[in-house]
């Protein structure tokens, strides 16, 4: 590792070119089972699953190193990346055919063990007009028009007459669309996977954990729109490590884990 280490120190001193591509693959599961818009192995199908990630850091030999996102429209800008596990088929009635399960970035070439990122759209980009915004924020199906921002995550599962969906985004926003005044509930989860090995492992979102605590057998499809009055949000917010009352991060999101390659 010695030559690589030297390289990374040199980069701290100001070089910008000596980085290598790093892909971070993502996967969605429901417990041990796969799940998709038409895949009901778990007993459920997806109705939706899309989310933004940003502020990605890898744990290097000398501490955390930011992953520079590679502009890759329509999925990524240098600020934020969109992941999309729905293909518009089956129960994914509001979906689109295109999918994306990887975040593409660059970082100084070295080994990394440990990954950290936020779910959401950075505040300075969250209140733009989707009709003028650059990809991946041009997507009207991720925009949350009435809250003046974006949905950071939309996820849902269903079977027969039961199911649950969540739309996560900043709430209790102030000002107006024309003159935004920020949001009192940020609602941007933190994902922290200390044993994630870059280049080998996969980030898994386990929907069984995300929807743990939701009654999926009561014959009543439920939902959470991050709305402050909705008690239905308490369980998924807990799984995302968010304090439902304040929108602050209380702990890393338990619904995400690293699937080890070995």
């Amino acid at each position: 590792m010695r030559p690589l280490l030297t390289l990374s120190i040199a980069c701290l001193a100001g070089c910008s070119g000596a980085t290598s591509p790093i892909d971070i693959p993502f996967e969605v599961r429901f417990g041990d089972a796969t799940i998709g818009c038409t895949d009901d192995t778990s007993g459920f199908t997806l109705t939706d699953l899309r989310f933004y990630v940003y502020d990605i850091e890898l744990e290097g030999d000398d501490g955390p190193v930011p992953l520079e996102l590679v502009a890759d429209p329509p999925w990524q800008s240098q600020d934020v990346a969109l992941l999309d596990f729905e293909d518009g088929e089956g129960a994914c009635t509001n979906g689109t055919p295109t999918m994306r399960s990887v975040v593409r970035g660059r970082a100084p070439a070295q080994g990394y063990e440990g990954l950290r990122f936020r779910i959401g759209v950075p505040e300075h980009l969250n209140h733009g007009d989707p009709l003028t915004a650059a990809a991946p924020l041009q997507d009207t199906s991720m925009h949350w028009h009435w809250t003046s921002g974006y949905r950071f995550l939309r996820a849902g599962i269903a079977r027969e007459d039961d199911g649950f969906w969540i739309h996560l985004g900043s709430t209790r926003c102030e000002g107006t669309v024309t003159e935004p005044g920020g949001c009192r509930s940020s609602n941007r989860p933190l994902v922290e996977l200390p044993d994630y090995v870059a280049g080998e492992d996969t980030v898994v979102l386990d929907l069984a954990k995300l929807f743990d605590g939701i009654d999926l057998d009561d014959g009543e499809p439920g939902s959470c729109s991050s709305g402050p009055p909705e008690t239905s949000c308490e369980a998924p917010f807990a799984a995302l490590g968010l304090d439902f009352a304040t929108g602050e991060v209380r702990r890393p999101a338990a619904a995400f884990e690293a699937r080890k390659a070995r």
């Binding site: 007009d129 199906s141 028009h145 009435w146 024309t178 402050p228």
Partner: protein
């Protein structure tokens, strides 16, 4: 409804006598048709008005191809003959989802300082238009993620292709969703209503209002009934602004419709400002809608839970609604978050008739019938045949 019929006849007479509205020149040479003394609505700097843009917006407003299955246009929930409402308690989207609230009138929507029933964030028509077009909770027109289809439509349809170039002359590629929204907003801004019998009465035509409506007007503006505190000003709502306004007031009020279990709660899918802020004190606070054309915009309240103006007046007379049984049972009069202006009042049967006669005098027949707001494809023009055949082709292709 005798007083209303008399007032309507007065409108027709006044029109026949040639009482012409004055033209007010706005920015970019657009000429607003507004009575003297009425300022134009505010216009965003990045979406100046032009006749070409308004005409384009009108066509888009009536085009069902802007919905996911070709079944509805903006005009489906905003019908001109109903003052741009849809007559339903709660509107229904293209795929059949029922909206928690009813479609609001578009009359003078350009003057609304905040749009929709209870959203302090929504302050321009351009942004509001995104919700019906792209919203999916509930689905309204259902175009989320289908921006490319919209662009394809306006670029490939020969009429649109040329009309976008004319309406957005400085854009190299004017066929964008952004410009669709801008054109629709420009058209909606022109839907103004200042020609009711009440307006004519204010302009000096004493015959425009019946004696009953005049008595009703006095009741409306009285401290006994308090109606005008929330439904005041030139647009009969305290959430109004205009191009020359120095401040932009807006207000949200709990009027005692519900008080579930005596906790102050409203039905959970419809808590008003509280939906946005999460603050308990905002429970049940909704915008006071304009009362212009209110006689043709039934049913009433955000959830359409009152069928007639008689019911509405009775509700305010009582100072809140008593829901006797069912899941929403409770006495709205005792809602702890209720506006101080909704405290109830005495009202004789004759006074109630007078008040309703006054409310009916706010109906602007020119708004309901003016061909400039009508579907250009249904008007007798060269465009009409063209519109129908292209629409059929589009729907059969889907």
């Amino acid at each position: 409804m005798r007083p209303f019929a008399v007032a309507a006849a007065a409108v027709a007479l006044a029109a026949a006598a040639g009482v012409a509205a004055l033209l007010v020149a706005g920015r970019e040479g657009y000429e607003w048709t507004l009575p003297a003394g009425v300022p134009p609505p505010p216009v965003p700097d990045d979406n100046p008005m032009s006749a070409a843009k308004v005409e384009l917006g009108r066509r888009l407003f009536y085009d069902t191809r802007l919905s996911v299955n070709g079944s509805m246009a903006c005009a489906t929930c905003h019908r001109q003959e109903l003052a741009f409402t849809d007559g339903r308690a709660r509107s229904i989207g293209a795929t059949g989802e029922v909206h928690p609230r009813g479609a609001m009138t578009l009359a003078n929507a350009g003057y609304a300082s905040r749009l929709t029933w209870a959203n302090p964030l929504l302050d321009t028509l351009e942004v509001q238009a995104l919700t019906p077009l792209f919203g999916d909770d509930p689905v309204e027109m259902g175009m989320a993620g289908r921006e490319a289809d919209i662009v394809e439509l306006v670029r490939s349809d020969p009429w649109y292709r040329a009309a976008f170039e004319e309406a957005f002359p400085s854009d190299a590629k004017p066929w964008s969703t952004l410009n669709v929204v801008r054109a629709i907003a420009a058209f909606v801004r022109t839907i103004v209503s200042f020609d009711s019998p009440y307006d004519r009465y204010l302009r000096g035509d004493e015959s425009a209002l019946s004696p009953s409506a005049v008595r009703g007007m006095q009741l409306f503006f009285s401290e006994r009934l308090e109606c005008f505190h929330c439904h005041g000003g030139f647009n009969f709502t305290d959430s109004s602004t205009h191009a020359n306004a120095i401040v932009t007031p807006f207000g949200f009020h709990n009027n005692g419709l519900y008080n579930i279990g005596s906790t102050g709660a409203y039905p959970p899918d419809n808590t008003g400002l509280h939906d946005i802020t999460g603050e308990r004190r905002d429970m049940g606070r909704f915008k006071a809608p304009t009362l212009r054309n209110v006689a043709v915009t039934a049913p009433y309240m955000h959830d359409g839970s009152m069928r007639t103006l008689d019911e509405v007046v009775e509700h305010y007379r009582r100072g809140g609604r008593l829901v006797e049984d069912g899941p929403y049972a409770g006495d709205g009069r005792r809602n702890p978050y209720k506006s101080a202006f909704v405290r109830g009042f005495e009202l004789t049967a004759e006074e109630k008739m007078d008040l309703i006669a006054f409310l009916a005098s706010l109906t602007d027949l020119s708004l309901l019938t003016n061909p400039r707001y009508a579907d250009p494809c249904r008007a007798t023009s060269n465009l009409a045949e063209n519109c129908v055949s292209r629409h059929d082709q589009y729907v059969s292709r889907k």
